[in-house]
């Protein structure tokens, strides 16, 4: 029998009478079982429990009192929640859109220009440098950045002073008009390495003859980037965008370390809002409602992202066929 695994995990079999496709499916299912049970235990069950808690008025101890959809109704009118959610959209720009765009250009430049002119080792070193923030624990990166951005003797302000731009000194994390932009800047720095590495790996599988042919035809770097690099690594772009958008929606550590949602709520995001509601205000039911809404939003966006990716890939394959 020849068993073929199609994209998307479908299994087909040319039956020769020796092995039935149903039994082949069963054997695969067996391998999936531990993972499925673990998923059930650490994701599905806690999520259902959290949803259950969100329908109660509970302080975390004692008996929860059933409150139905009251927490969700309150959430709809909670300006603080919607403000935090608006900040999340800014974080999507900082953690998904910008790193993907910049990472794409940088990956292409490292692969197609630096690698060719300065050698692959130089490109690899630069790639590692960009990836370094991804290796650092966010708590460490956050503390270091809070020193850099400190208002009085922070390195950034000292640097501005030293180069004669003292009038540009700012309270980067303490000014409500600037704080969100500062956190976004830090997150671009943190996040950039991930798309860069994924895109460079993607570029490894692009046929070099495409670039050579384009170069012979007189295509410059920008045209090669637009017409070869971007279309060839489109699947990686979808994956990175989906992954980073999810990371942006649930960002917590950076906000906790850098600003604790301040000043005056200027950098509050839903996950931090949920955390303070849970642990500081001990409104566990309400905190659970925030988490549930956030999870549903993330799930919906993930499904949309994956659908778009599949549809685009199918369209590409169709066009090739």
């Amino acid at each position: 029998m020849t068993v073929t695994v199609e994209r998307g995990g479908r299994v087909t079999g040319k039956q020769d009478g020796a092995v039935h496709p149903r039994r082949a499916r069963d054997s695969y299912a067996l391998f999936l079982l531990p993972g499925a049970v673990a998923f059930l235990a650490v994701v599905i069950v806690p999520f259902l429990m959290n949803t259950g808690v969100s329908l109660t008025d509970w302080q975390g101890v004692g008996s929860p009192e059933w409150s139905g959809l009251a927490n969700y109704r309150e959430l709809l009118d909670d300006a603080e929640f919607w403000e935090s959610f608006r900040h999340s959209l800014f974080m999507v720009v900082a953690m998904a859109a910008l790193p993907t765009a910049v990472g794409l250009v940088l990956a292409a430049a490292l692969f197609d220009y630096v690698g060719k002119h300065f050698g692959s080792r130089t490109a690899a070193v630069l790639r590692a440098c960009f990836y370094l923030p991804q290796v650092l624990p966010i708590a460490v990166a956050g503390i270091v950045w809070s020193w850099i951005l400190a208002p009085d003797d922070g390195s950034l302000n000292e640097l501005l002073q030293a180069v004669g731009l003292g009038s540009w000194r700012q309270d980067w994390l303490g000014d409500p008009d600037l704080a969100l932009w500062s956190v976004m800047g830090v997150m671009v720095w943190v996040q950039l390495g991930f798309p860069l590495v994924v895109f460079m790996a993607g570029l490894e599988r692009v046929d070099p003859q495409l670039y050579e042919a384009a170069e012979l035809d007189g295509a410059g770097w920008w045209r090669r980037f637009r017409h070869i690099t971007v279309p060839q690594i489109r699947p990686e772009i979808y994956v990175v965008l989906t992954w980073c958008t999810i990371a942006a929606l649930k960002v917590f550590g950076a906000v906790y370390v850098l600003t604790k949602g301040g000043p005056g709520g200027a950098t509050n995001v839903p996950s931090y809002f949920s955390f303070t509601t849970f642990f500081e205000k001990t409104q566990v039911g309400y905190g659970a409602a925030i988490s549930t809404v956030l999870t549903v939003i993330i799930l919906a966006l993930s499904v949309i992202g994956l659908r778009l990716q599949t549809r685009a890939e199918d369209a590409e394959e169709g066009a090739r066929a």
Binding site: L30, P34, A41, V45, V61, G62, G174, P263, G264, T282
Partner: protein
């Protein structure tokens, strides 16, 4: 056959995983009568840390064969997980915990703490604690402090004071701040000389304590009782709160409080005082020992001039979880921390003991600290802390006071925001 075996193994593994994830963990804690499980969060070199370490040694000496299993926790760790831990079988026998309605009060209301009333009377701890210090030990059925059963015992006290850099005051020929006018005159002079006089942290508790202290300077005990103990209606637009918010905003405008302190942490404020950058710091006695150790200049302290009341209370509480296994050992340990030996040690290390022998405190700075506390305690001046009345109020105060510093909110709107959060959280009964 082999495949069936694999399937069974996978099922067993998966089943155990599910059970492991759903079942309770034993946490590895021991519960035999020969072990006292103790959690606290005092730094080893702080006055309390040193005293509790000595108390552990004393306890083991007095209880041959009994071992103290001490786990060092952080304040945040205990604050955020206590309800869950105390609701499980992992609870220690004795734990240090934050005092107030939103913390110890909440746990006592939920039935997670042991009622210590009988033990307190039997061992005479109540006689050692002054009324102001005792307030945070007792909670009523609604978890409101000040009356009801004893759920915790504090072994030290804490209060806020003005720390000032004597050398900088001398340099600018300023009188030490004995009156409120002295304080304002000094701040004016420093501001004129491009020095921000007050060390502040907008991202943590210092800023809100400035506001609260300003309000307290126009308040009396019944005002505090209304705000903290709900014994009356709190009006956030009364003379005291209005004066506090207006004055704080004015002080930011005048440069007494730096606008760039919005994102500063308490540690930043302490360091700016220690580095001689900020000549005045208004904060708690918990800084005292550290300043004794680390300040390289001559400094002094005074109670906030022109105010009978100041933020302060009994220290953190020893609480005995309801599910503790060795309660008798826990009571014995508390008793040792109340002994003269441990209390004197605490006093000499820069803490504020509640039952020390005055003659045994030999360090002059420590004597000054305790003398100021006795003055305050004698006039019933401990006014607790601004964030205590309702759960989550600390964050509201931080966030709103930051807006007051940046000028993005007017004092009137600031007080409205406080009122809204307070009214939402205050017990309805």
């Amino acid at each position: 056959m082999a495949r069936r075996g694999t399937a069974s193994a996978a099922a067993v593994l998966a089943g155990s995983l599910l059970l492991a994830s759903c079942g309770g963990s034993d946490g590895g804690g021991t519960s035999d009568a020969k072990t006292l499980r103790l959690w606290h969060y005092e730094a080893p070199n702080s006055a309390m840390g040193v005293a509790w370490t000595a108390a552990i040694k004393e306890f083991e000496a007095q209880h041959p064969g009994v071992k103290v299993e001490f786990e060092e926790k952080s304040f945040d760790q205990i604050q955020k997980t206590a309800p869950m831990v105390l609701n499980s079988s992992d609870a220690p026998d004795l734990m240090e915990y934050n005092k107030g309605n939103a913390t110890a009060g909440l746990l006592s209301k939920q039935g997670l703490l042991t009622d210590l009333s009988a033990e307190v009377t039997k061992r005479g701890w109540d006689k050692l604690l002054s009324p102001g210090v005792r307030t945070t030990s007792r909670y009523d059925a609604n978890g409101v402090m000040g009356s009801g059963k004893w759920y915790g015992v504090p072994n030290y006290a804490e209060y806020t004071m003005v720390y000032f850099n004597k050398e900088l005051f001398a340099k600018y020929r300023l009188a030490e701040p004995k009156t409120f006018d002295d304080l304002v005159a000094a701040m004016d002079t420093f501001a004129e000389n491009k020095i921000t006089p007050l060390a502040n942290s907008g991202a943590e508790y210092l800023a809100q304590q400035y506001v609260y202290q300003l309000a307290l300077s126009r308040a009396d005990r019944s005002w505090v009782d209304s705000y903290e103990l709900y014994k009356g209606k709190t009006d956030f637009h009364d003379a005291a709160w209005t004066y506090a918010a207006d004055t704080f905003a004015d002080w930011v405008k005048k440069g007494y409080i730096g606008k760039s302190s919005t994102s500063a942490k308490a540690e930043d404020a302490g360091v700016s005082f220690l580095q001689g950058k900020a000549p005045i710091l208004f904060s708690g006695s918990w800084w005292y020992g550290r300043f004794q150790d680390e300040a390289t200049f001559d400094w002094g302290t005074t109670l906030w001039p022109g105010s009978n009341l100041t933020p302060g209370s009994g220290g953190n509480l020893w609480v005995v979880p309801k599910s503790a296994h060795n309660k008798e050992l826990a009571y014995d340990f508390i008793d040792i921390t109340m002994s003269k030996k441990i209390q004197n040690l605490l006093g000499n290390k820069g803490g504020v003991p509640v039952a020390a022998d005055t003659a045994a405190i030999t360090d002059p700075k420590s004597k000054e600290l305790i003398a100021n506390f006795n003055t305050l305690s004698g006039r019933d001046g401990l006014a607790f802390y601004p964030d205590w009345p309702v759960p989550g109020f600390y964050d509201v105060l931080v966030s709103e006071t930051q807006k007051l510093i940046t000028g993005s909110e007017k004092p009137d709107d600031y007080l409205d925001a406080l009122r809204e959060a307070y009214d939402k959280g205050v017990p309805k009964t």
